[in-house]
């Protein structure tokens, strides 16, 4: 069962390695550079990759941008050019803005909790290296669960009639109504999303921790008695590249990959339930048949995420150290 996530994590670890290389400007390694006799050959090599990117990314993106300027007839009989009207509608809609606010809240909470708990578990596991293998396998197995299944399992935990979380809340005199009460649903969404992402963060943090040289830790042991100081002044800065990488991955996860979880929890529920912008794009476009409006929303989302990523690289880059 743990085979699949391990392999996925392996590929992403190479990704992290490349990311580090790029970060520290070591990409121009002359040994790794290959020379081709004919100038066309390299293009042939990247052609399949380019084809995939064009078909699955650029083409739909262009489609989305184009259709965001039109209002489509709900019955599919042609469309009318309306300029920026779809954008205005979206940004002026209070419903859209409240979804955006929830998305921001959801994103920050899930990322912070998933990173924080992942780090906490990794630090604890790092201390008992012996048991780490079992510990690792136990924790990582959650990662093997597909998001919709995670959503379903989560649903069971929060079930109104027999879910253990609902019962626990009941002992404290609180009636948890997931799928009906807005904030109860939000709590369930956050809990399940965090739970799903912790193993991923854990594995990366643990391997980051284990790559801190033993002698550096020992030097710190001689320099200060306080475990907290050693962690804050020595371990954490050395983990910064890993943490930054995970931050970007986690934000992407909360923005996009939580879709199936949300789907399982709020689908077909009549009430006003929290959702993220991505889910709203889907609802308006496919359930509400408003292709133009939903395209405009997805373009806005694209721009926001791009801006976020640029900002992260700009401002956090300076605070991250490499050995």
């Amino acid at each position: 069962m743990t085979d699949t996530p391990l392999r996925i994590i392996e590929t992403e670890r190479t990704l992290l390695a490349r990311f580090r290389e790029w970060w520290s400007g070591e990409t121009a390694n002359p040994v790794k550079r290959v020379q081709f006799d004919r100038p066309l050959t390299p293009w042939l090599f990247i052609l399949p990759q380019m084809a995939v990117v064009v078909i699955f990314f650029y083409w739909p993106s262009v489609q989305a941008v184009t259709s965001s300027f039109y209002i489509e007839d709900p019955f599919g009989f042609g469309s009318t050019f309306v300029g920026l009207e779809n954008y205005q509608d979206a940004l002026n809609s209070s419903e859209y803005m409240s979804t955006a606010a929830f998305t921001a809240f959801f994103c920050i909470t899930v990322t912070a909790l998933a990173l924080g708990l992942g780090l906490l578990l990794a630090v604890k596991a790092d201390k008992v290296i012996r048991g780490a293998e079992t510990y690792k396998t136990l924790l990582i197995s959650v990662y093997a669960i597909a998001p919709p299944v995670a959503g379903l399992i989560g649903m069971m935990f929060f079930d109104m009639h027999m879910g253990p979380f609902t019962q626990i809340a009941g002992w404290f005199g609180y009636e948890l109504k997931v799928g009906i009460n807005y904030w109860d649903t939000a709590i369930a969404l956050i809990t399940i999303s965090v739970w799903k992402q912790i193993p991923y963060n854990f594995i990366f943090f643990l391997s980051g921790l284990q790559s801190v040289p033993v002698s550096v830790r020992e030097a710190a042991l001689i320099d200060t008695k306080s475990g907290w100081r050693r962690f804050k002044d020595v371990t954490l800065p050395l983990l910064a590249p890993t943490a930054f990488f995970l931050l970007i991955i986690n934000i992407t996860y909360t923005m996009f990959d939580t879709f199936p979880i949300i789907d399982v929890i709020v689908k077909d529920k009549p009430a006003n339930n929290p959702m993220t912008l991505v889910y709203k794009v889907y609802l308006d476009g496919f359930k509400g048949n408003d292709i133009g409006g939903s395209s405009a929303q997805s373009v806005i989302l694209m721009v926001v995420v791009a801006l976020l990523t640029v900002l992260q690289f700009r401002f956090l880059e300076r605070r991250v150290h490499y050995g």
Binding site: E218, I222, K225, Y322, G323
Partner: protein, 357 residues
């Protein structure tokens, strides 16, 4: 600054049934430079790390100054350590690397600055204070590691093979520098190395370890001139002392059927130790087959065998050597060891043996 005392110190790693270090007794005076030397795996690092507090002590007692430190954290032991791979904090500047230990001990800012400046001056690190370790050469990193220890002004310096990552030439320079600094600061030092040359040149006293036990403690020359066992004899000195099976016959020590020197009598077989520089190639003496010659410029080392037992001889001549030469030794300079235990036999046996003749 303080004296250091190890009493019957031992260590058995969890899960292992053999002691890595056993029964070590050393008294180290204030300001003394002690070098722990021995082959790989003999427990040098383990012993040093027990003093540092990085390894628990399973037997005996370690004192630094007047305190028993067995149960104290490394940070509370008032020691500073220099690691083989320097163990600098990669994300801190040279200045912060040196200041970190002091900051954590709530040393006043001005005092920290003064100490860092002084260490930087001593180690010629001034221009690099704001650099990160990765922008330094191996030798410079080594100095920073030294600086980090010096600014602390600890009771003792602990070094674990601090020079083995440097190239041969730099190693010699740094060796002298460490010695000079230690003399000037007068800080008690415990230094681990497997390089016997480093051990000889640095130490006030050597501690030769073998399989976790102390084989011999003494000043470098004393250890060199009077090795307590065949182990020490073979380990200290370069080229290694030649060890040969020998017998006594009529007051003569006999090797391969030839009388080598009049020493005295002793029962049974003995092991004879011969230093290369104590042997001379002459026209008379014991015949030795020449295998190959190492030219070192100042002199040459002739490797060969007496019978089938290998021997090395230092020779100052320049002439070509015959296939077989004859060697002689000053009887006062040969070493005798009991074959069964490997322990040194006093050559006083001569004095006892002669009247008996």
């Amino acid at each position: 600054m303080a004296h250091l005392s190890l009493k019957n110190v031992g260590k058995t790693y969890g899960g292992s049934n053999q002691a890595a270090v056993a029964g070590v007794d050393i008294e180290i005076a204030d300001g003394e430079f002690i070098v722990l030397v021995g082959p790989s795996g003999c427990g040098k690092s383990t012993l040093l790390r027990m003093v540092a507090g990085l390894e628990t002590v399973t037997d005996g007692e370690i004192r630094i100054g007047d305190r028993v430190v067995n149960q104290l954290d490394p940070a509370e032991r008032d020691i500073a350590m220099v690691f083989q791979n320097y163990a600098l904090y990669p994300h801190m500047s040279v200045r912060d690397n040196m200041a970190y230990g002091l900051k954590n001990r709530k040393t006043p800012k001005a005092e920290i600055e003064a100490r860092v400046a002084e260490a930087a001056r001593m180690l010629e690190l001034g221009p690099y204070l704001d650099r990160k370790p990765r922008a330094l050469s191996g030798g410079q990193r080594q100095r920073v590691a030294m600086g980090r220890a010096i600014v602390r002004q600890p009771a003792a310096f602990l070094f674990d093979e601090p020079l083995s990552n440097l190239d041969a030439k730099l190693r010699v320079t740094m060796r002298m520098e460490i010695r000079r600094l230690q003399k000037r600061l007068g800080t008690t030092s415990l230094y681990v190395t497997h390089d016997q040359l480093e051990a000889m040149t640095l130490a006030d006293r050597l501690v030769v370890l073998n399989g976790g036990r102390v084989e011999q403690i003494g000043a470098p020359l004393e250890v060199y001139r009077k090795p307590a066992s065949t182990f020490v004899a073979a380990f200290i000195g370069s080229p290694a002392m030649s060890l040969l099976d020998a017998r006594f016959e009529n007051g003569q020590v006999m090797v391969d059927g030839h009388a080598l020197a009049p020493v005295g009598n002793a029962p049974g077989p003995v092991t004879l130790g011969l230093r290369a520089e104590d042997l001379r190639i002459t026209s008379t003496g014991v015949p030795m087959r020449v295998d190959y010659v190492e030219e070192l410029g100042a002199h040459r080392i002739v490797h060969g065998a007496i019978g089938d037992q290998p021997v090395a001889v230092v020779d100052n001549g320049g002439a070509a050597l015959a296939e077989t030469v004859h060697v002689l030794v000053d009887p006062a300079k040969l070493h005798l060891f009991e074959t069964s235990t490997g322990r040194r036999m006093d050559t006083r046996i001569q004095a006892e043996a002669v009247p008996a003749q």
